[in-house]
Symmetry: C2
Subunit: 213 residues, 2 copies
């Protein structure tokens, strides 16, 4: 298995120094809510959920960019981003993604985030319905935006446009190797693969290997 | 588009009656945490996250069952579950799934949850690495357990074994129709598709339609 140090270019890696309880009223980015609801029999019940405080007019928290990189002499590939995620104290492997800003559309957010995190400019192929990130825990939702990036022979690697404090490593993986590469990353110390990306790759892998029409 | 009432068998549907702030110290199932961490430059930074309080010895919060139903005279299919999810105030379409109990393995949880939510007994084909449900928001994680259920001609529909308060509708969908069916559900009023299931189906769909090897 590869080591994290061989994958990210930093001389030191990020790490958690403390984790403390956060009172709901002090939280800026998320909150806890108590939901009272009536079930199908009319009985009153309670549920607890976490919520993002940042949802804007698009009605959707986040967009992920399922991207296809086409190049005249290389196999069809996808660019993944590897970054430190404090909740996991690990480096995650994900498709480029981000929160949709208050005043932008999901398409605009997808084009912007792909460019910021990877440098690539692409065109939108399709946008998924709004889907629920983890329906038992949170109302957080997202859309998967499929985008295509067409490169020419000899195009230079574009520059990322990262915000202050963002340390994001790009890796370009042939689509035919995506599933195996994710399993390799998932078995690397201090690395975790995002569930949604894993599921897409697992769906591709299943389709190719299950032997069903 | 189908209507929700044509999909779930209840004479009334569940609904939220109130949503209120939940102080972290009163929450039983989840909590908010403040993370202090050092980034790659040694700079101290803060992050907010939501956490489940229920993780047991398996080190993983949840398991989802990517199931394949094989029958002598029907196309290879998968059974999905539709249930009211208070965080979304909607009926979600997901693969059978649940939290891993404190003292069970992920395999045991998968076999148990499939049986409880759908009635089917199956065998485990493979288990994914531990993957992160929504890495910017939470440390919540899960494993995708692929399972196979072999039916014989004339086998009766098995009975679900639902807990008190669980109202879960099963639907069996041919794998070849999964992607289109999910899009249809996602466009139905008061229904939402879970992101992970959508991504698996989108990966299958992509593999079949992209024209790449």
């Amino acid at each position: 298995m590869p080591k994290l140090e061989a994958i990210v270019p930093y001389s030191r890696t990020a790490k958690v120094t403390s984790v403390t309880d956060l009172p709901t009223e002090e939280a800026k980015w998320c909150s806890l809510k108590k939901i009272a609801y009536e079930d199908e029999t009319g009985k009153s019940r309670l549920w607890e959920m976490a919520e993002r405080r940042t949802r804007g007019k698009a009605g959707v928290d986040a967009v992920a960019i399922g991207n296809i990189i086409l190049h005249p002499s290389r196999p069809p590939s996808t660019v993944l981003v590897i970054q430190y995620r404090p909740p996991l104290d690990a480096y995650t492997v994900e498709w480029p993604a981000g929160l949709v800003d208050a005043d932008e559309t999901v398409e605009q957010a997808a084009i912007r985030e792909l460019k910021e995190e990877t440098g690539y400019e692409g065109r939108v192929l399709s946008i998924s319905p709004i889907v629920a990130s983890d329906p038992g825990l949170t109302n957080a939702n997202m859309q998967l935006c499929m985008m295509e990036v067409k490169l020419k022979e000899g195009d230079p690697e574009p520059e990322q446009r990262l915000d202050d404090g963002e340390h994001i490593t790009r890796v370009t993986v042939p689509l035919s190797e995506l599933y195996d590469r994710l399993v390799e990353y998932a078995n690397t110390d201090r690395m975790t693969v995002a569930a949604k990306l894993h599921h897409f790759a697992a769906g591709m892998h299943f389709s190719k290997t299950a032997g069903f029409p």
